[in-house]
């Protein structure tokens, strides 16, 4: 049931709620799973100096990013007793309110999924070379930075 193969994490544009719902649906055949935990990153319409963020344009050093995502997957499977794990990140334009990151972990037991999900999300934020240009309504922009 473990799903350790490297695969492309990036998707062009926003991650839709249908895609997420369908991904949940596919796990209903895996009847050893007792707990799923899902993290979704959504683009905020932040107000910065009286201008509102309309969208984020994501770019990445794709080869290095996919290698890092793979390292994070391997480390998480090593550390936590997970049945499966899925990570998707957007590239290109994602509008405010849309979803840009989808991390999905599943395990027989709940304690494991809480720890694993936070570990994975923090590692993605810290270690993966993805860059975000916050575009304002007047077409000006600033560069996003994880904190």
């Amino acid at each position: 049931m473990q799903d350790k193969k490297p695969k492309s994490v990036f998707k062009e544009g926003a991650i839709t709620s249908e895609f997420i719902g369908n991904s949940i649906y596919k796990h209903q055949t895996k009847t050893s799973i007792g707990a799923h935990n899902i993290f979704l990153g959504q683009v905020r319409a932040d107000d910065i100096d009286e201008k509102t963020v309309l969208a984020i344009e994501y770019t990445a050093y794709e080869d290095m990013a996919n290698a890092k995502f793979h390292e994070i997957r391997e480390a998480a499977f090593e550390q936590f007793e997970l049945t499966c794990m899925h990570i998707y990140h957007s590239l290109g334009t994602v509008k405010a309110g849309e979803i840009c990151l989808f991390v999905f972990v599943s395990s027989p037991r709940r304690k494991v999924v809480f720890e694993a999900l936070e570990y994975i999300v923090e590692a993605i934020k810290a270690d993966v070379p993805v860059f975000g240009k916050e575009v304002f309504e007047d077409e000006s922009h600033q560069w996003k930075k994880n904190s």
Binding site: G41, I56, Y58, T59, A60, Y61, D63, M64, A65, A67, H89, C100, L101, V121, I124, K125, A126, D127, V128, P129, V130, F131, G132, K133, W143, K144, K145, N146
Partner: protein
């Protein structure tokens, strides 16, 4: 030697190119960065990390003549 250098995000905006080949005779990363500061004077004002062959390296790391990338702060998620 020739080094292939990739620029991303805010750094690519500043260099106005995403990738270039530079002839370079230094030994460690900091020497390459000094060369880039001469070519792109505004680069000094920016924060970035260096990756060599897709791994982050320090200023003292020896150049191996392969892929170098200038990476501004990460913003994934």
């Amino acid at each position: 030697m020739y080094i292939n250098i990739k620029y991303f995000g805010q750094i690519a905006e500043l260099t106005q190119t995403k990738e270039e080949n530079l002839e370079f005779s230094g030994i460690i990363v900091s020497e390459l960065v000094e060369t880039l500061y001469l070519k792109y004077s505004n680069l000094r004002t920016k924060n970035f990390q260096i990756a060599q062959n897709q791994e982050l390296v320090s200023m003292e790391t020896e150049l191996t003549g392969n892929d170098i990338a200038l990476l501004p702060p990460f913003a994934g998620g």
